[in-house]
Symmetry: C2
Subunit: 544 residues, 2 copies
């Protein structure tokens, strides 16, 4: 597909730190809203600082903002024209570029992968993209139908790394109670040979399909692990071609009908970390939760895509969330965000968001290649609650570096099984803890014993919905994808490339050659390893 080169909307607004809102926000940040003050955290505040969409409520009353700050954050969004940038992105304008230097120059159209329902396409580019996406979904339907009727595979080995693993896996784990009871899935991502060896201990290869996911078809980990598995299939007398399925770009090295039972496509306008709703996640999910539930997930994502297009910032949940993140990062100077889903099933969701945000916004130059004089993407980390409360919450409450929290919660369990003990159900206990932490972090507590003193004023936002199911999970995924994009739009950086991963790849290639050369006297002691390291460090030291 072709995308127009209408990039001006991404370049023309005044830089982040040159907006009129920026200066005002700096001023407000000198004395931000004090959540510990008597009467600061009121019912009306919480109610006023709330936005709803698609069954979700986003509560930002626990952030250190007042109405004046909120207004100015919205002004910031307007000055930076982020709603226009979002629309241009969803229309398929080239959004992945750096002006004036060699760069990827691509559209960013993961939204087209789920724009298969009601809405009229926003543009020619979008229409073309969704037709491609629809065709793959049709192919997938056929494939799943055959697979169900032939009962050919009861296991899947999913091989992919980074964006080709984190998102799909997070979604897979999150829908555990929807999993087909007679099907199992194994994941291999790491080049560590123990990763393959572990799966070989558990999988029945004769009943397994192997889904190999690499956009480029040349990811070294994925290529090696695929070949590793092919060797094991051969050894067992199985024909790999009857088991291996490729998910890749048309005409990549992996686009071969001789090597694969089936091929599904993605395109350069779907970034790896935004690819969970493309074929990258589709086959895995359709295999484990079925085609209908997978479509529900797409539906949820699509509906949230539309929320991200809302022109009124106060109704646009992903944008609001991005504004809070920017307030905490650039004005309150908090270096990290902890994502805390109060749901055990979301245990890999923070790892997905870690990639989605840090690979997108861990940048230092703007759209014109100039170093930015302000902070961009924060460090993202997190574990499910209540577990985190018994781990790192000590630091969040009483450490010297405040952490911004993004809390995700559900009213009902997915498993439809609950237990009442001492007057409350487990789900009620879970939710009580969720709310209690936001309140405790905000208000703090004085105490004559300094060790029992809580300073408070530690911000959090809450994203709540009724139940974690395919639909709400799709919406949640989309919420965060757009939050990430909005932050990039606010900062004026290109959130859609990842040049920062290249240098390490180049050096690793050189080191591999050294290892290969040293193979005769294979090192087997740390000292010998040290030796190898020394040779390399000399080489690199001299080569800079």
């Amino acid at each position: 597909m072709t995308a127009t080169s209408e990039k001006s909307i991404f370049i023309s607004p005044p830089p982040f730190d040159k907006t009129s809102a920026y200066v005002k926000l700096q001023k407000f940040a000198e004395m931000p809203f004090d959540l510990t003050a008597n009467g600061a955290l009121t019912a009306s505040r919480i109610e006023a600082m709330r936005a709803d969409a698609q069954g979700f409520s986003y509560l930002y009353g626990f952030e250190r903002i007042d109405q004046e700050t909120l207004k100015t954050l919205i002004l910031l969004a307007q000055e930076r024209k982020v709603c226009e940038q979002m629309e241009a992105m969803q229309k398929g304008k080239i959004a992945n570029f750096i002006e004036g230097f060699e760069s990827e120059k691509r559209a960013v159209l993961h939204t087209a992968c789920r724009d298969i329902f009601d809405s009229p396409p926003l543009s020619e580019e979008e229409r073309a993209a969704r037709e491609l996406a629809k065709a793959e979904i049709e192919k997938l339907k056929q494939f799943i139908y055959k697979l169900n009727s032939k009962k050919q595979f009861s296991e899947m080995i999913f091989v992919g790394i980074g964006g080709s693993e984190l998102g799909p896996r997070a979604l897979f784990e999150a829908l555990s109670f929807l999993h087909h009871k007679d099907r199992r899935v194994h994941f291999i991502s790491n080049i560590d040979p123990d990763a393959v060896a572990s799966v070989l201990q558990k999988a029945d290869l004769s009943k397994s399909c192997v889904v190999v996911v690499s956009k480029s078809g040349t990811t070294i980990e994925t290529e090696t692990n695929e070949q590793f598995l092919r060797r094991e299939f051969f050894r067992k007398g199985l024909i790999p071609k009857d088991h291996f399925i490729a998910i890749t770009t048309p005409k990549s090295k992996m686009d071969s009908s001789e090597q694969y039972l089936e091929r599904f496509y993605i395109w350069d306008w779907v970034g790896g970390r935004f690819s969970a709703t493309s074929m990258v996640g589709a086959l895995l999910l359709a295999f484990s939760i079925g085609m209908d539930e997978f479509l529900n997930l797409l539906r949820g994502a699509h509906e949230m895509d539309k929320v991200a297009l809302r022109q009124d910032p106060i109704q646009n949940l992903p944008l609001l969330s991005a504004l809070m993140a920017v307030w905490n990062r650039n004005f309150l100077k908090l270096p990290t965000i902890a994502i805390i889903p109060y749901s055990q099933l979301l245990h890999r969701f923070p790892a997905h968001l870690q990639q989605c945000e840090m690979e997108s916004n861990g940048k230092s130059i703007d759209r014109l290649g100039r170093p930015v004089p302000f902070d961009t993407g924060p460090i993202i980390w997190g574990e499910p609650g209540t577990n985190g409360q018994h781990s790192f919450y000590q630091l969040i409450h009483q450490g010297t570096t405040p952490v911004a929290l993004e809390v995700i919660g559900f009213l009902e369990p997915q498993g439809n099984l609950d237990f009442e003990w001492k007057g409350t159900t487990s789900q009620e206990k879970l939710l009580s803890n969720l709310f209690a932490q936001s309140i405790a972090l905000a208000t703090g507590q004085e105490n004559g014993n300094p060790n029992k003193r809580f300073p408070g004023n530690r911000p959090s936002s809450l994203l709540l919905t009724k139940k974690l199911n395919a639909y709400s999970l799709g919406a949640l995924l989309s919420f965060y994808e757009h939050k990430v994009a909005f932050q990039g739009f606010l900062w004026g950086i290109n959130s859609f490339d990842q040049e920062g991963v290249q240098l390490g790849k180049v050096l690793a290639d050189r080191l591999m050659k050294t290892f290969a050369a040293q193979r005769q006297n294979k090192p087997s002691e740390p000292f010998a390893l040290g030796d190898a390291l020394l040779k390399i460090s000399q080489e690199i030291g001299g080569s800079r």
Copy 2:
């Protein structure tokens, strides 16, 4: 057991920021060693900045230090008398206290749990503790022997949260190739009812023992999940007492022969986050890897405990590591540390260290209850390499906030299965990537295209050994436990309590009561949830 109240060694040294080293280090930090300079990263540098012990090599030549900085860091350790503090801790002097205020006043003797081999006890307190620990190990041996001969249980459901789950689970996952083939383990930690429901879908209760771990016997998550499981055992006509095993403090609510098949003990001198080598982790590990391998793990931990007692800082690996962490945190002002094990089997190890470090050192007051005027524990996060390279390394290379890396690597795979592809094995590829990243982060790279520019000077340290096995894993665990303690000794804070988790618990209890009261009109929509929240926020707002 009794511990003397000889606390002076923890209080008497000059405060961290009042040492002569502190001022010098601040000066050095204005122009730290430049790893990007031509010839800065040399073979002799890497070789010189290396310490060995118990098969481990610790390489700190990729840190932004020169010999002068190193000397001054060592001076800091001497001024703060951290070796003397470590010895006092391992002797069983009271190390968990705040002077002048109500506090726990306990010894910190997790080292006694594995001090069952060669060395003579350092003190009466230690002797007493190790006798208790030894008796439990003997009890465990008998129990495992009976369990093996009766073949009573082929599954274990492990119920615990925080320190009673993260460490044991990280160790369990790390030794996957040593697992007994016919035994399975399930974990339940979260109060989320989906956590129990997920396990109920997989476990055969009739063949399962349930190990309930709670030091106090009153952890709400663990108590609730235990009762939830007891109900399910009843429903299946099984007698819980024949299946449930308690790991708790003597005389806790859980110390009941009527409720449990067996009880194993821990004591107040074993902190939760340091309890993985006590009975908290012992039964799980002995069940899954066998008693002999579990003893190998204790042996490795014990040997590293002795390394932590080395008086010469330059030979004391955990201390060196603590000094690098403090340099990066307090002088180079890096707010986070990423722990990157280049081993898929260590995938839960960063989560364990996250607790171990952040709960220990996420504090704001010193031993005398005074607010500290400097930063303490950083935020700890991480995922295995090479996976992280396809996720958050973008930010580490090119983001605006540098991250300190702690890299862990092994020469050989645990699974004894490797695969050669394009001239190198997977293990060699893994190691090439490990080294390449440290080099790339240190040296960076200039480029005419600003998007392909890598600033470099991003520090890392490397901890390497031959193979991940029970012995080296024990040593690795101990290395980090002592690194955490040394950092606390340097800062002069109490790393061994966790008052910061209390406020949230109190508030959660109040909220639970509100939920219970509201049960008649059970809320089922986000709006109703919002309502509940409002009531509570009013209550809290008024009560501060």
